[in-house]
Amino acid sequence: MVIKTEPFILNIGPQHPSTHGVFRMRVTLDGEVVVDIEPVIGYLHRGIEKMGENRTYTQIIPLTDRLDYLASLTNNLAYVLAVEKLAGITIPERAEYLRIIMAEAMRISSHLMAVGFFLNDLGAMMTPVLYMWREREKLLDLFEMVCGQRLTYNYMRIGGVSHDIPEEFLPALKKFVAEMPGFIDEYDQLLSQNEIVLARTKGVSILPRDTAINTAASGPVLRASGVKWDLRKADPYSIYDRFDFEVPVGKVGDNYDRYWVRMQEMRQSVRILEQAIAQLPSGVVWADVPQLLHPPVGEVYGHIESPRGELGFFLISDNSIAPYRFHIRPPTLINLTALKDMVVGWKVADLIITFGSIDVVLGEIDR
């Protein structure tokens, strides 16, 4: 007599402690093994693309903050770079360096959060999160010094940055940069060789190299699969070609590699910060750009390397004060295209961890 079994559908619903936001997955399970998965999104859709068509170019900057709210400054940066490319504006040197400092500090903060919550999904009860947030608090204090905000910064402007840094910022930043490599070593020592972390992430949910390229993965997800493609080196924007840093590339493309790539990127960001602080010139921080900017007719696709991948803004201008079309290329939504490949055949526990290792932010997926 054969026992009849049937797969059942589990709804890992919009409210869940581990979906990093309101993300819903309809998972078909055979016992504990995932057979099929269908992501359902749109719970945070605010119509930012449509809103962009009714706002001036400067008024769109706060909208871009709310896309990937854990790395707001890089969103701002991508957008203002796109507009400056369209309108042909050059910005002062000091503003360039300040943008790089802010963007790299943002990258460290975002990766701390991503790695911390990846380990929380593994089950390590908030301990790694709280250790990493000790450093993130220092970063958020630095950001508050400059931008007055801790989450949605609205600091970049078309033509530079909004205002200059206060005096106490640079010493505090230097102190942070001096101690950070020691802290990253501490995390490495506690976590990277932990038997249970290795057992649960090594070889799990492998994303093969060809699938990664075909599904246009970007950021740490792509680099963990062995593709050395980082927009800061391949298509340098702003003044990244003046800095000396490496691009960490994983070997296999499993969860461990994605975690490892993020840890190494934090080290490289600290390197860039050291060089930027050393080379920071003096001067004005904003080129005099008119309030109501009328860029020439044309279109531009400006993209940067955000902590989550290739964030692109596609702008079409018809010489009026608002863009004709404002389209956002969200890195995390495109990274999720390969979720089914990565997860089928593994268990429910692995699904949660894989999803954590892709590092999604729902603001960006849903716009």
């Binding site: 693309e49 390229i213 599904t215 295209t337």
Partner: protein
């Protein structure tokens, strides 16, 4: 530095491979017809000199006379990029062939274009609404919505 390839040169290559496909070409982009889009895309992907294996972005634009779908293609090996466009003039039921069999990244992006702009992608495995709920009526990103 990613070199943005000159649209006119690529248009000549495309015309040699599939004549009559190119509608317009300037320095920035190449515009092809809807019927030849799949063939041209396949040619761009499979030619070793061009080798566009990465579809970075897919955007749909509503110019009131026609819809335009803009593809940003990148080659990781050669580090060059190209902008490919196609237009469709039917306002009520615009149809564009789907490129998901060539680049799987088009999956979610085409669903979003269908959802918000109403362009039907012919050949897409799962063309459902992505961001809005299933019973929603209308396509919000069109110029005549609200």
């Amino acid at each position: 530095m990613t070199t943005a390839l000159n649209g006119e040169q690529i248009a000549r290559k495309i015309n040699k491979a599939s004549p009559g496909a190119v509608v317009a070409a300037d320095k920035a982009a190449v515009v092809v017809t809807g019927e030849s889009l799949f063939k041209v895309a396949k040619f761009l992907k499979n030619t070793p000199a061009l080798d566009f294996n990465y579809l970075a972005d897919l955007a749909a634009v509503d110019y009131t006379d026609y819809f335009e779908v803009v593809y940003h293609l990148v080659s990781l090996a050669h580090n060059h990029s190209l902008v490919l466009k196609t237009r469709c003039y039917d306002h009520d039921k615009p149809v564009v062939p789907s490129l998901t069999t060539l680049w799987r990244s088009a999956d979610f992006m085409e669903r979003e274009a269908y959802d918000l702009m109403g362009i039907v992608f012919d050949g897409h495995p799962n063309l459902k609404r992505l961001l809005l709920w299933e019973g929603f009526v209308g396509h919000p990103l069109r110029r005549d919505y609200l």
